[in-house]
């Protein structure tokens, strides 16, 4: 049986050779390139020192305040709206340009590329009936014409995504944003003058001095144009909302995120409310809102004047995050009880910042009158 032994050795030798080969050839992990190497959240996490701060009430001047406020650390132009084509097919959209100042002081450098301003833009469209949602984001520096914001003529852009005035006035303006997958091309016309939020435009977000932002809204813009999903084009009409905010603060310690609602009622009234969610679940004293009656008169809503109660949550399949998508909003002072529901559950933007922002519908009673309406809801800080 020695011959068997020799054969065994031969087999063993082959097996060893194979084992060595397998070991050497085993695919090992190679570092993969790709994906943004930074998170937009980091853009917000910098030192606050040296930036201009929203400390006191200021005079808002238009069109200047449609443009950028470069000495404040962050700023945004936040367009949202609900649209419908002639056949009644409903759509929602969001187009936001964010500006982040990286340094408090203007920089003096030889290169035209040098800039302390970074821009980020988010673009999302919702095909409510088709149950489709699409979101994309872009980054660019505020130099070389790649991105920027200017007051007169009004234009805010990131590459070829832009909102620009048709003429001297900021509005009517044209909003254009497109990728290969989806596109938006709308003409926006102001139906109301700007509404200053908070205390004459100063919107406190926490106790610290300057822990606030300057905040105004254009609560009703008539929108008309085209929505595109892939190769399908829809001629649409509807109403949009612009939120403009700038400041240098971020969430305070203990604040986990915020829930924000913009509501446009059929009777011509609008409402904005936001709540800052505290980690311990308590009501933040800086929650606030604004009631804009059909005649345009405004009434600020203080934290203790309204109550937001989540009714049902939805868990994102993509990220596993649970968002409260149905809410009850009670405002005793207005004798209002409203129910807010998403027009489509999946309107989560899983971008460098993850949040839910989407088209909603609202119904209920205000001052004993039945009301219905559409709007947008933003839910941030959920994990």
């Amino acid at each position: 049986m020695r011959g068997q032994g020799l054969k065994r050795i031969a087999v063993l030798a082959l097996a060893m050779a194979l084992a060595v080969l397998v070991y050497v050839l085993w695919p090992r992990q190679q570092p993969q390139a790709g994906g943004p190497a930074f998170e937009a959240a980091e853009l917000l996490a910098d030192e606050e020192a040296g930036f201009a701060r929203a400390v006191e009430v200021r005079e808002f001047v238009f069109p200047a305040d449609h443009g950028a406020h470069p000495d404040y650390r962050n700023e945004w132009w936040y367009f949202t709206g609900n649209l419908e084509d002639a056949a009644g097919r409903a759509f929602g959209f969001e187009f936001t340009v964010f500006r982040f100042a990286m340094m408090p002081e203007p920089i003096e450098r030889a290169s035209n590329w040098a800039s302390r301003q970074l821009y980020m833009a988010h673009f999302a469209v919702t095909d409510i009936d088709g149950e489709r949602f699409y979101a994309a984001e872009r980054f660019a520096r505020g130099a070389m014409g790649l991105a920027g914001a200017q007051a007169a003529p009004f234009k805010v852009w990131l590459e070829d995504w832009q909102v620009s005035a048709e003429a001297d006035e900021a509005f009517p303006a044209r909003l254009q944003a497109a990728t290969d997958e989806a596109g938006l091309d709308l003409r926006l016309e102001a139906l109301q003058p700007p509404v200053l939020q908070g205390e004459r435009g100063l919107s406190p977000k926490g106790a610290g001095p300057g822990n606030a932002s300057y905040y105004f809204s254009m609560p009703r813009l008539a929108a008309a144009g085209e929505v595109r999903f892939g190769g399908e084009r829809y001629e649409v009409k509807g109403q949009a909302w612009l939120d403009r905010e700038w400041g240098s603060s971020v969430l305070e310690r203990g604040q986990a995120g915020w829930d924000w609602f913009s509501l446009q009622f059929d009777n011509g009234a609008e409402m904005m409310v936001f709540q800052l969610r505290r980690e311990d679940g308590s009501t933040d004293p800086y929650n606030a809102g604004m009631w804009i009656a059909p005649d345009g008169s405004t009434r600020p809503l203080r934290a203790q004047e309204f109550e937001l109660e989540p009714l049902a949550t939805w868990e994102s399949l993509a990220t596993g995050v649970e968002y409260p998508l149905r809410w009850r909003l009670r405002i005793p002072a207005l004798n209002a009880e409203l129910t807010v529901a998403p027009r489509l559950e999946n309107q989560e933007l899983d971008l460098s910042v993850r949040y839910w922002e989407g088209a909603i519908e609202v119904s209920g009673e205000i001052r004993n009158e039945n009301v219905r309406g559409l709007g947008y809801m933003e839910l941030t800080g959920y994990e």
């Binding site: 011959g3 054969k7 050795i9 060893m16």
Partner: protein, 828 residues
């Protein structure tokens, strides 16, 4: 009798036999292992080099399908927003490339827009860095992890970075995962790069990912002076750069393979020779032929398997060592900055296994078949075997002659490099097959004079070699081939070196050369100052520039020359005086490799993209140059200015009428301008030769390896021979030979073998060198060099052969001399 016990018997017999000759077993395995190791080593080195090359190309170009390039200045930056914002081409990434240094470490700084990287290059990959500071802060850089570790720099640390003739303080604002092939890259924002480079307003290029129709459209729309080039063809031309280098290594690896196969054959035929009696007995016992054949082959498989494993185990670290040498050469010669990582390519290992196992099997097949097909008992007589070998000698000689003629025919004029290699291989094998017959002739011729000088003893030694041809023939051939490789490479490199030295002597005419240490342009003030120096008779001004073209960059040498400098050019084609006139009037002259790669001859026209679009330049001459294997185009400064704009001067050649005074004045100048680098003619020549020697350091190592293979082969052959002749030795002892005399006889015998191998290796080596110089190098690089029959490599080869044979003989001779004669006589 069932076949089972028979099989067992044969195995047992074979195994016992092998075990009984532990040394033989070890040598057999070592022989295979060394052959495999050299092939694996070179192959892996080649693979890693080309992979590293591809990866650094990728790191630089990413997914880009096209590039927008401009003239010498680059691309105006405004083109980028035009592309990206107005035309909406979002897969566009701008880059400004810059050579920088941190201390002694030379690096490439890539100025990028971090937001544009994603779709195109993904340069920054995974990592942590402060994007805000990277963009907003002047002098912010991002390092790959490895480089950060090497420079001992982390987040927030400052580095002194020299770029474009100035030293800047930069700050590390993050590190990213090191990517293979990008070890010597660091990143900055475009803004920082422009500021460091002093090139505000310019980009080196814009990389794009385009669909074919987009590319066609863009080509038509691009502003004047810019061009859209296909990244694929560019990538390819970058690849060709490294391919030329790989070819040289491949030639060496093929040679190693050849020697390795010889060794395996050698080893296996010995193992079987040793056993011819045993085989005869087994056959007589009724063991079938096929059974015998199978078992011998299985044995070979085991030997081959173990040898291959060992060979791979040794080959990988060997490749690592070679890679360091090759890496330096590649980063000296080419664009790829460094090769840090050995990549073990599956194919290389498959090749190694095929060679080790397959080669062993194949090498064993011939002796195994011969052994198995001899009728029973006949095997017991060795003389029969030797007679068989002599019959085969005719066959081998005939085959050798045919191969030689075939090889010579294949050398017929052609540009095909692979044909050159086939010819080289055929000639080598052909000549190798002629070694046995030459040995017979040589030994017969030697027997008479040796007999006269040393009597019967001398004759015995010479005839002993011939008589043992079945074993000595292969060993001799292996030794001769290995030594001829050493000689051939040595002669080729020596000739190359002599040509380069000659060329340097001719082209380096100026007494001093002056440039800035960082290759930044010399200021007009400085040039004026230099012109006023005492002792100076003439100056030449020059600058190198990489001109991006569709087929890859063209190295442009912009010169302002005097007649004296012109006289230094060695023209390979074109008449120098006429070329001088034409050169002054807008023609260019090109180096030999450039003419070769672009198929240019005097009178042809060369298209170059200038500031004003593509222009054709007449080629006035082809001159010798060994500084770049890709080739160089030399252009008069006046011509350059006309088509490309002003040319800053980077280096000056200074011609002295009073060298001593000029030298003194330059010393003073250097004291005033420490950033200047002033080299004397001699100094520059020496440094150039240093670079040359460094380039060929890897071939030196391979020559040593080839020699090692030869020594192992000879040692294995001789110790086998000694074992084999134990009985003969015992007879001689019994006849009254003293142990010392016996040892001398055997050492003399192997000395004669070494002498023969050494002598045969010389013509073989010369032929190899001639083929390498006249065919391989010319077809691979377009270089012509003068063949120089240098005594050095010839003597080296001769001594190597003789000494390795003598050294290899010492141990077996010593063993044999100590053997007890009676035991040897009782062998059966």
């Amino acid at each position: 009798m069932s076949s089972q016990p028979r099989a067992s018997l044969v195995f047992k017999a074979g195994w016992r036999h092998l075990r009984g000759f532990g040394l033989q077993l070890v040598l057999a395995i070592v022989g295979i292992a060394v052959g495999v190791a050299v092939v694996v080593g070179i192959d892996l080195t080649n693979e890693s080099a080309s992979r590293a090359f591809a990866m650094s190309t990728d790191a630089l170009m990413g997914r880009a399908t096209h590039q927008v390039v401009g003239g010498p200045q680059g691309v105006p930056e405004s083109v980028y927003p035009w592309l990206r914002v107005e035309q909406g081409l979002r897969d566009a990434a701008p880059v400004l490339e810059l050579s920088v240094a941190v201390g002694e470490r030379e690096l490439t700084l890539l100025g990028i827009d971090p937001f544009a990287e994603d779709g195109v290059r993904g340069s920054l990959g995974e990592g942590e860095f402060d994007i805000g500071r990277l963009i907003a802060q002047a002098g912010a850089v991002v390092l790959p992890d490895d480089l950060a570790a090497e420079l001992e720099a982390g987040y927030g640390d400052r580095l002194q970075l020299s770029a474009a003739g100035a030293v800047h303080t930069v700050e590390v604002v993050g590190t990213v995962a090191s990517q293979p092939g990008a070890e010597s890259l660091l990143w900055a924002d475009i803004a920082t790069a422009q500021e460091l480079a002093g090139r505000v307003g310019w980009l080196t290029r814009i990389d794009l990912v385009l669909e074919p129709d987009q590319a066609r459209w863009l080509e038509a729309e691009l502003p004047e002076g810019l061009e859209l080039i296909d990244a694929g063809s560019r990538r390819q031309s970058l690849g060709e750069m490294s391919r030329a280098f790989e070819i040289n290594l491949t030639a060496l690896s093929l040679l190693a393979l050849l020697v390795g196969l010889f060794l395996v054959y050698n080893t296996m035929s010995f193992a079987l020779l040793r056993r011819r009696e045993l085989i005869g007995v087994l056959r007589a016992l009724g063991v079938e032929r096929s059974q015998l054949l199978r078992n011998v082959l299985l044995e070979a498989l085991i030997l081959g398997g173990v040898g291959t494993l060992l060979g791979i185990a040794v080959g990988i670290p060997l490749a690592n060592g070679l890679l360091q040498l090759v890496g330096r050469t590649l980063s000296d010669l080419y664009y790829a900055r460094s090769i840090a990582e050995l990549s073990v390519a599956p194919l290389s290992l498959v090749k190694a296994v095929a060679l080790g196992m397959g080669g062993t099997l194949l090498a064993a097949l011939v002796p195994a078949y011969a052994a198995a097909s001899t009728p029973p008992r006949q095997d017991l007589g060795r003389s029969a075997l030797e007679r068989g070998v002599k019959r085969r000698l005719g066959l081998v000689t005939g085959l050798g002659a045919v191969l030689l003629i075939l090889g010579a025919l294949l050398l017929l004029p052609s540009d095909a490099l692979w044909l050159g290699f086939v010819a080289l291989f055929a000639i080598t094998v052909g000549l190798a097959l002629l070694v046995p017959i030459a040995t017979v002739g040589f030994m017969r011729a030697l027997a008479r004079p040796l007999g006269r000088r040393f009597g019967g003893f001398g004759r015995m030694a010479a005839r002993g070699v011939v008589a043992g041809l079945s074993r000595t023939g292969v060993a001799l051939t292996a030794l001769a081939v290995a030594v001829s490789a050493v000689v051939g490479m040595g002669l080729m490199i020596g000739s190359f070196r002599a040509s380069v030295g000659d060329w340097l002597g001719s082209v380096l005419r100026a007494d001093y050369y002056l440039a800035r240490q960082d290759d930044a342009p010399l200021t007009p003030d400085l040039i004026d100052t230099v012109r006023q120096l005492p002792g100076l008779s003439d100056v030449s001004l020059s600058r190198y520039e990489r001109l991006p073209q569709e087929e890859g960059d063209v190295s442009l040498w912009i010169v302002q020359l005097g007649e004296e400098a012109w006289a230094g050019f060695q023209f390979r084609a074109g008449e120098p005086n006429a070329a001088w006139q034409a050169f002054q009037n807008g023609a260019v002259i090109v180096t030999e490799p450039f003419a070769f790669h672009h198929a240019l001859a005097p009178g042809d026209r060369l298209s170059l993209r200038t500031q004003e679009g593509v222009r054709e330049f007449p080629v006035a001459g082809v001159y010798a140059d060994y500084s770049s294997d890709r080739g160089i185009v030399a252009m008069a400064e006046s011509t350059y200015e006309k088509w490309f704009g002003a040319s800053p001067v980077e280096s000056m050649g200074l011609y002295a009428h009073n060298a001593a005074r000029l030298g003194q004045a330059l010393d003073e100048l250097k004291a005033e301008h420490p950033q200047l680098q002033i080299r004397s003619n001699l100094d520059l020549r020496e440094r150039s030769m240093e670079v040359f020697d460094q380039t060929f350091a890897v071939t030196d190592v391979l020559r040593i390896l080839a020699a090692l293979v030869a020594v192992v082969g000879v040692f294995s052959a001789l110790s086998a021979l000694a074992l084999e002749r134990a009985r003969e030795a015992a007879v001689l002892r019994a006849l009254g030979f003293t142990p010392t005399r016996l040892a001398i006889l055997h050492v003399t015998e192997s000395g004669l073998m070494g002498l023969a191998a050494g002598l045969f290796a010389l013509p073989l080596g010369i032929v190899l060198a001639v083929v390498l110089i006249e065919v391989i190098n010319r077809r691979a690089f377009g270089w012509t060099m003068d063949f120089a029959l240098l005594p050095g490599p010839l003597l080296d080869g001769f001594w190597l052969a003789l000494l390795s044979a003598l050294v290899a003989a010492v141990y077996p001779a010593w063993r044999q001399a100590r053997a007890v004669p009676a035991r040897g006589l009782r062998e059966e």
